[in-house]
């Protein structure tokens, strides 16, 4: 996955929460990088650590959470070495973020215009009047109808889709190099989802930024991403470019996710596959591979030792014993083709 310029390189990121029950490793050694102008999708179920990863990049982890180790290189500089004041100048300016809940992510007591204008006033030192004018341009850019009127309205006067557009306007106000979108469409209607995703994609091309898209929806990934990192229980289990991932998924978890996706292009017979069981909570992780208790292929070594994230011939990376010389299960197994057989044998 070589590319001319890497905007952000996260290396062995570890974020933990220190609770009464002890340390909870929400993000445990996550690494990825995003080339300039590209989109990385981070996929996983709830509790896989994907949102914590994104908040870590923004350095917005609140107590009792703490970034314990690793590096976040943004344009070659480690964000973890920055002071709080330096981070403030980066947030909303070079790295921006939009959140899952457009209904609650805007401050109810300030007008839409004020909330967008604030970004210009903080990062570009604009006067209120000038900032409001630029806010108006932003509202036009994100396709909000009658923007002059919207500028003076309060968030509760807008629909969910409109609010998410306002969030995008705030995030993109200062032309960030990286946009982190944490489940930006999850809370929206399906028709609005497509609009918002298209908007993000178009603006990405127009403004030339990189996007880190957090989602649990592989359909969204297929449409919008260049690279994909699949996360499970705080670790990346598979990392590949989007074509490779969808054509030849490697990790049993990825395959399980794909199998559980309803398809419109082929006739599916019978019920959709589900991955049985639940994501283990970070305070109660299995000793070996974290997916082993739910994995239809699991063998002795899986329960015993955690596999490494290894690079395969097609440049994809996978964290699974099946692809190593140490594999002690059934030989010649193909995760993609045999998943259904194994999964049904299990039950």
């Amino acid at each position: 996955m070589e590319s001319p310029k890497t905007i952000i390189k996260v290396d062995n990121l570890q974020t933990s929460f220190y609770t009464d029950k002890g340390e909870v490793k929400a993000v445990d050694g996550v690494s990825f990088e995003i080339p300039s102008g590209k989109t990385l999708g981070i996929v996983g179920e709830s509790g896989s650590g994907k949102s914590i990863t994104s908040l870590s990049v923004m350095r917005l982890i609140q107590d009792p959470g703490k970034i314990k180790g690793g590096q976040i290189l943004f344009n070659g500089e480690n964000l973890l070495d920055k002071s709080e004041a330096q981070m403030r100048r980066i947030r909303g300016n070079q790295i921006s973020m939009i959140f899952q809940e457009p209904m609650t992510s805007l401050n109810p007591v300030f007008t839409v215009g004020d909330q967008i204008a604030e970004a210009y006033m903080i990062h570009e030192g604009k006067s209120k009047k000038e900032a409001l004018r630029k806010a108006l341009d932003m509202l036009k850019l994100v396709g909000i109808p009658s923007p002059e009127q919207r500028l003076k309205q309060y968030p509760h006067e807008l629909s969910g889709g409109m609010r998410q557009r306002v969030m995008i306007a705030i995030a993109l106000a200062c032309n960030p190099e990286l946009l982190i979108a944490d489940e930006p469409t999850t809370a929206l209607d399906v028709t609005i989802q497509a609009q918002i995703l298209r908007l993000i994609n178009n603006l990405q091309e127009e403004l030339g930024m990189s996007v880190m898209l957090i989602t649990h929806d592989l359909g969204v990934v297929a449409e919008t991403c260049d690279y994909v990192a699949v996360m499970y229980a705080g670790k990346v289990v598979e990392y590949a470019d989007v074509e490779t991932l969808f054509e030849s998924p490697k990790h049993p978890y990825t395959v399980g996710l794909l199998k559980s996706l309803p398809r419109h292009d082929i006739d599916q017979e019978g019920e959709l596959e589900v991955i049985k069981g639940m994501v283990p909570t970070p305070d109660n992780l299995p000793k070996g591979c974290r997916f082993a208790p739910r994995c239809p292929f699991a063998s002795d070594i899986c329960a015993d030792r955690l596999p490494e994230l290894d690079e395969l011939e097609d440049n994809s990376q996978v964290r699974c014993w099946i692809y190593t010389d140490e594999w002690d299960g059934k030989s010649g197994v193909s995760v993609k083709d045999d998943y259904g057989t194994f999964a049904s044998k299990e039950s």
């Binding site: 403030r88 909303g92 809940e101 992510s105 109810p108 007591v109 969030m167």
Partner: protein, 306 residues
């Protein structure tokens, strides 16, 4: 906003009618014959009848009520039984003392309460937080009169910094205002703290941080504006309560305010004074509540205009 204000003013009318009916009934609900009581125990039958005639007590009740209300609207609340002076001028002389006392105390409560509450919330779980909350608990539990007496004991008699009693000069304000403001400050501090803690975890606070807003502005601009709404309610109630309930403090500091005046009037069975004072205090309550409602709307645009 204007239509809301006007509609809200109209909504106070039923309340005012209710208040006047209650105050009017006071005269007739007390045991015994009001004419007899007002004329005095030594009065003979004829004098009592004369008094009844003068007070209009032999008219039908609705007519009496109408006379009472139309008099009140014109500022005529009758005459004090004891002094014979007009009730309105008797109340007027003391009313502003009480309003001043309540106002200064409330301002002090807001000032101390807000700052303490915000510090407590932002430093949640630290020694500072616990210390502030312990002090607030003390402030809340301390009886007014005791605090007043202690203040007099140390700061007037002990250090001689402030006068023991009276009202008017700036030095005379200090101790009564502290006495009355302490409990309010404690309530406001606790309210602000819990309200801030609720708001501080809101998604829009995260948005503000993600925008690169300085922590100070995150707290004082983005969070406080939202956290103020329940605090304003408490402030309004507090102010209203102080107007009528400053009796003890007024007594301790020998301040000639409305609270003490009413209590005296009740003891002397000076009904016109009691009626008039209750009416004025009720009116003030209505006005304060009205202002609180208006400020809600100002603080939070989500509150509907109805």
């Amino acid at each position: 906003m204007l239509t809301y204000t006007i509609r809200r003013i109209f909504q106070t009318i039923p309340v005012l009618i209710g208040v006047t009916i209650l105050v009017f009934s006071l005269m007739h609900l007390i045991p015994g014959d009001p004419a007899q009581i007002i004329a005095g125990e030594q009065a003979n039958q004829e004098q009592v009848e004369q008094m009844r005639e003068r007070l209009g007590l032999n008219e039908p009740l609705p007519v009496q009520y109408w006379n009472f209300v139309s008099g009140a609207v014109q500022g005529d609340l009758g005459n004090s039984i004891r002094s014979g002076r007009a009730v309105s001028s008797e109340i007027g002389a003391r009313f502003w003392v009480t309003v001043e006392l309540a106002l200064y105390s409330t301002i002090l409560s807001i000032f101390i309460g807000l700052i303490a509450g915000i510090i407590s919330a932002t430093k949640r779980g630290t020694v500072t937080d616990s210390l502030i909350m312990i002090v607030a608990l003390f402030g809340l539990s301390m009886p007014n009169f005791w605090l007043g007496l202690m203040l007099i004991q140390y700061f007037s008699l002990g250090f001689g910094w402030f006068p023991v009693s009276g009202w008017g000069s700036p030095q005379q304000l200090v101790l009564p205002v502290i006495t009355l403001g302490t409990a309010g400050a404690a309530i406001i501090a606790r309210m602000t703290r819990s309200s801030m803690l609720e708001v501080i975890h809101a998604d829009y606070i995260r948005t503000a941080r993600a925008k690169g807003v300085k922590e100070r502005y995150v707290i004082y601009k983005h969070a406080l504006r939202n956290a103020l709404i329940p605090v304003v309610t408490v402030v309004g109630l507090q102010f209203g309560a102080l107007l009528g309930g400053a009796v003890l403090t007024e007594t301790v500091f020998a301040i000639n305010g409305l609270g003490r005046f009413v209590v005296d009037a009740i003891r002397m069975r000076d009904f016109p004074i009691v009626q008039g004072s209750v009416l004025v205090l009720a009116l003030m309550f209505v006005v304060v509540n009205f202002l609180v409602d208006i400020s809600y709307r100002f603080l939070n645009k989500r509150i509907e205009l109805d």
